[in-house]
């Protein structure tokens, strides 16, 4: 029996390459100044979905991402690896969302997608390292949650079995479907793009992207509806604006500071026997060691 799976994936700034202009004056992230990547643990999440698709005939995978227009890349990347379709939730009204406002918006979009058996998210996004959106989406949809998933063992007869990786051990849990799971980086890595899918979906675009293409661009989406990436604005989903964006975010950034090292005054030694022996003697005398 096939499953309907929604994978939540986020486009994140690559925090491994952060420059000076990464933050705006209001304390929010200046995404334009950073390379944007598929959040690493969301790729682990996608892989779990792809494995279920192989195991259970008729399974479909729908990606859902909220972000600026260029986050359509996330949907394309998912299609190249085996997802069936995707939605980009994009609107200025969502800007400045903290995790609660993000999960509210995602939950509203999921309600609109309506039919699903399983929602899979990454454990956490590397831009915030918060690991909150998965559980909060679950709470908003009143679904059970299973966090720190390492492997989906099976999903049959309305139940799912999941191996969880905890700080000091492993646990297998069973939850009824539908539910929300969040996947760890210790889970299997995501398979690469498939050449065939890359050919098929290379020209997949959102409506906004199609409108800004060069003149010689030939729009084939009329004949090939799969090349149309669904784009939803705030008006396409049922939301209450008071829960959205900056105003719907209970947490505010008060201040941010760049991290600077306070240089200490240090004693510089060489690797010579004399230097090392002096140091050891000093440490013994002042009772630091021994």
């Amino acid at each position: 029996m096939g499953l309907k799976i929604i994978v939540l994936a986020k486009q994140v700034p690559d925090t491994r390459n952060v420059g000076k202009d990464a933050m705006k004056a209001d304390g929010t992230v200046n995404r334009a100044a950073l390379p944007a990547i598929f959040n690493p643990e969301d790729l682990n999440a996608l892989e779990q979905a792809l494995r279920l698709k192989e195991k259970y005939k008729g399974t479909t995978i729908t990606l859902l991402t909220m972000g600026p227009g260029r986050a359509a890349d996330i949907i394309r990347e998912g299609l190249f690896r085996g997802a069936d379709d995707g939605y980009l939730l994009t609107d200025r009204a969502f800007a400045g969302s903290d995790t609660l406002a993000t999960s509210y918006a995602l939950a509203c979009a999921i309600r609109k997608i309506k039919s699903f058996d399983l929602i899979i998210a990454g454990r956490q996004a590397i831009d915030g390292d918060t690991a909150q959106v998965g559980p909060q989406v679950a709470e908003k949809l009143n679904l059970p949650q299973v966090t720190y998933a390492e492997e989906v063992l099976k999903a049959e007869k309305g139940k799912i079995q999941i191996k969880r990786r905890l700080e000091r051990g492993v646990e297998t849990v069973e939850s009824p479907l539908p539910c929300v799971i969040t996947v760890n980086s210790s889970a299997a890595p995501c398979r690469p793009r498939a050449a065939k899918l890359l050919m098929k979906y290379k020209h997949a675009r959102t409506m906004s992207e199609r409108q800004t293409q060069a003149e010689d661009y030939i729009d084939m989406s009329a004949d090939r509806p799969y090349l149309n990436i669904q784009e939803w604005s705030v008006n396409d989903v049922e939301t209450d604006s008071k829960w959205l964006g900056l105003s719907g975010s209970p947490t505010k950034v008060k201040t941010i500071e760049n991290v600077v090292f306070q240089a200490k005054e240090s004693k510089v030694l060489t690797s010579s026997d004399k230097d090392i022996e002096e140091l050891i003697k000093e440490l013994i005398v002042n009772h630091t060691i021994g």
Partner: protein
């Protein structure tokens, strides 16, 4: 009312260290705010657990003791915390940034629309002026945390929503007995008042927990190795040095990722925070995510063949040279000079 709450976690029949650390912090915050400190413990066979908690300065310990609360699953714990928080309206709610706290915290904060800051490295009380709205907020919880892969430190506040919730990793706050004779009151939670069948749908089928083998957090000397150690075999000299001087071995994430050391030895922002008497950093460059977890060490010795390594800036002693040459010499001269 509007007190400071700490959600305590149990670890093999004992209150987990991270919870005791949070109680210590919570007591300080409660003193600043002139309010009470309350603890919530949920689990099974908790008889007498309050005696572990009172010395850390808790005025009230809420105990929910029921077989359905052990092992931990999300929905029953969330239902009870939501219920208790809903009635007692804490101004602050703190949890450990453990697999449990990071599972429970967001669920509760979503239900209560309260906002939650994950992995704080400092918590302080302060005011905030919202110039646009012309409003001044008194005595907010400053939730201070590194963001953006550690490149910045952000202070987060929740001006309007309560409770102000935060998670903190084990070892980040100090654990200190407030008063060994401190006595508060116990309040038993009526579990049945909150727990419904619908909360019991997720079942734990199997569980394997290992006892943590290493205890670098409580070690007063740490010999820590980085990617510059070059191999798992070379790491052995660190164990040798640790053995003779009575230390534990730590590691950087790059060393852990490379398989030189186990994950439970990782020091840093996504590992353990340590504050030993002496920290010897061997072949560690000293990226901010690493130093975030060791910069409070009383003394730092950096051994690195690059005289410009960032770790040298926070070191008391900088030894420039090859780790594989220097560490055997340290062992040799320690043996020679100690009685």
């Amino acid at each position: 009312m509007n007190n400071v709450f700490v959600i305590c976690e149990m670890d093999e029949g004992k209150v987990a260290d991270v919870s005791l650390e949070l109680l210590t912090k919570g007591r300080t915050l409660a003193n600043t705010l002139n309010c009470k400190l309350e603890a919530i413990v949920l689990g099974h066979k908790l008889k007498g657990v309050e005696t572990q908690i009172f010395p850390f300065g808790a005025d009230v310990v809420h105990i929910g003791d029921d077989p359905r609360l052990d092992p931990y699953t999300t929905l029953p714990h969330a239902a009870i915390v939501n219920g208790v928080f809903g009635e007692l309206k804490p101004q602050i709610g703190l949890l450990g940034a453990t697999t449990m706290g990071r599972d429970l915290g967001p669920r509760v904060s979503s239900a209560l629309v309260s906002g939650l800051t994950a992995d704080c490295t400092a918590l302080e009380i302060g005011d905030h002026e919202d110039k646009k709205a012309g409003k001044v907020y008194k005595n907010l919880l400053y939730q201070i945390r590194p963001a953006f892969g550690g490149n910045i430190v952000a202070t987060i506040i929740n001006p309007d929503c309560r409770p102000q919730m935060a998670t903190v990793r084990e070892g980040v706050m100090k654990k200190e007995i407030y008063d060994p004779n401190y006595k508060g009151v116990v309040r038993l939670i009526d579990v049945n008042a909150y727990l419904k069948d619908e909360h019991l749908v997720v079942k734990v089928i199997e569980r394997h927990m290992e006892k943590s083998r290493v205890n670098i957090k409580n070690s007063s000397i740490i010999v820590s190795g980085g990617y510059g150690m070059g191999s798992k075999e070379n790491f052995q000299v660190l164990y040798d040095l640790a053995e003779v001087i009575g230390a534990e071995v730590g590691a950087s994430r790059a060393a852990v990722d490379a398989g030189y050391a186990d994950h439970d030895r990782q020091v840093g922002q996504t590992g353990i925070t340590v504050r030993p008497k002496l920290y010897i950093a061997c072949g560690i460059s000293g990226q901010i995510q690493h130093t975030a977890g060791m910069e409070e060490s009383s003394m730092v010795i950096a051994i690195n063949n690059d005289p410009g390594a960032p770790i040298n800036k926070i070191a008391d002693y900088v030894i420039t040279g090859d780790v594989m040459e220097i560490i055997p010499k340290m062992i040799k001269y320690y043996k020679k000079n100690s009685k």
